[in-house]
């Protein structure tokens, strides 16, 4: 079996899974990256979010063959970046993490949002997070955390990362 090559958190890898296998399962089982969660298995909750060539996607809805040759960033990879440092401090400061189940997806959705829109309004933040469910926080604190990160980015406190 020749395998399916892609770049995972900056590292070229080869999956031995079948083309139709769910990316979520390949990441968790074959590559032992358990930051992606199966919350619903049907693209409704966002707990399985990753970045695919920089775009937010649900890994439960992608067969591994579909991502051949592409760049995948999971929360494990994103957690090594300065942007993650800013976001995670903001999440911490605002109380945006309770059980933590939605958090990897929320952080990647935040990153995807700020990458495309450095100064989002509250409505734009909520729209950017509209594919990510949280059962604990009621979303308000997560929105504040993103606002905090965006404000820090604007003032240069965050070093103009976005």
């Amino acid at each position: 079996m020749s395998g399916i090559s892609f770049v995972l958190n900056g590292v070229p890898v080869i999956s031995r899974s079948e083309a139709s296998c769910r990316m979520l399962d390949v990441l968790r089982d074959e590559f032992q990256l358990t930051g992606v969660k199966c919350g619903c298995g049907e693209g409704e909750c966002g707990a399985c979010c990753v970045l695919l060539d920089g775009l937010l996607v649900n890994s439960c809805l992608l067969p591994i063959g579909r991502i051949e040759g592409m760049q995948v960033t999971t929360i494990e990879g994103f957690s090594k970046t300065k942007r993650f440092d800013v976001l995670s401090r903001a999440f911490d400061a605002c109380g945006a993490v309770q059980c933590g189940f939605c958090t990897p997806g929320m952080l990647l959705a935040s990153e995807a949002l700020l990458s495309h829109n450095q100064d989002p309004s509250e409505a734009e933040i909520r729209e950017g997070l509209s594919g990510n469910f949280c059962r604990c926080t009621g979303y308000g604190m997560i929105v504040e955390a993103i606002q905090m990160a965006a404000a820090q980015n604007k003032t240069g406190e965050a070093g103009g990362l976005w």
């Binding site: 139709s20 996607v57 649900n58 067969p63």
Partner: protein, 267 residues
């Protein structure tokens, strides 16, 4: 070996093989039986082109809903695409997939019916074009044949008012209870064109050209007088069902009310 062609021809050759299925964003494929071998279309550049040729707009079937947001497309189609699912799904799901899945609740469909869209189908044997209402034949059924790919949606220009509303339980990640796409063109106080299509209230989109003629060529004053009769005609015409998302009565009443609202604002 992963079947992920970079050319249309290679895709069509793959699709000749037994037990293959064309897929693009995969958001519907992954929820289905996944029994067939996927032929991934996302690398075929010609399927994601948007071009205007003077009389109409051609939208490649591989265009994702996110990509469409930054293109010059009809405003009603933009409104429909913008409200589908979530950012993560819009980033990979395509207009071609929305059409070929032919869900009764597909959000782009009433807009495409109201704008008189056609679809282009290609196979190794040739090309055919058909109106979307002929292409979608039933609930999740289309006229696509083995070895064929939907390559483009063609939308004739419409210069009047166009409008789309989606009614659903949430503002995101919600399958529609009902949808309405309406178009109105008024010239010198006379209604030149009126079209309305309803989604999620039948096995396929409901559009009645016969009922639309009630308003065509009427003066605005006369049209306003006819509106109650028109709304009554649609109330009779629509026969939605009760299901997990909504009731027949709610769907009928809301559709008629939305049409009345559209006409009240624009006549």
């Amino acid at each position: 070996m992963v079947k992920r062609p970079t050319s249309l021809r290679q895709a069509l050759l793959f699709l000749q093989e037994e037990n293959t299925a064309p897929v693009a964003g995969c958001t519907d494929f992954m929820l289905g039986s996944r029994a067939r071998e996927p032929v991934f279309l996302d690398r075929i550049v010609e399927l994601s082109q948007v071009a205007h040729d003077g009389s109409g707009l051609s939208i490649g079937s591989g265009c994702t809903f996110t990509a469409l947001q930054s293109m010059e497309i009809p405003s009603a189609l933009r409104d429909a695409a913008r409200q589908i699912a979530s950012p993560a799904i819009r980033n990979i799901a395509t207009i071609g997939g929305n059409i070929c899945n032919a869900s009764p609740a597909g959000d782009t469909l009433p807009v495409l019916y109201a704008l008189d869209a056609s679809v282009e189908l290609k196979s190794l044997q040739g090309t055919r074009i058909m109106p979307i209402q002929a292409f979608i034949t039933g609930r999740k059924k289309t006229a696509i044949e083995k070895g064929e790919l939907l390559t483009r949606v063609v939308i004739p220009d419409f210069t009047g008012i166009q409008w789309f509303r989606k009614v659903s339980a949430r503002r995101a990640q919600a399958l529609s209870k009902c949808t309405i796409a309406a178009c109105l063109q008024v010239e010198e106080g006379t209604i030149r064109d009126f079209r309305v299509a309803f989604g999620a209230v039948g096995l396929t989109v409901v559009r009645s050209i016969e009922t639309e003629t009630l308003l065509r060529n009427q003066s605005i004053a006369e049209a306003k007088r006819i509106v109650p009769e028109l709304l009554s005609a649609y109330s009779t015409l629509l026969s939605p069902i009760d299901d997990a998302r909504s009731t027949a009565e709610y769907r009928r009443r809301v559709c008629v009310a939305l049409l009345g609202d559209f006409l009240a604002r624009n006549l």
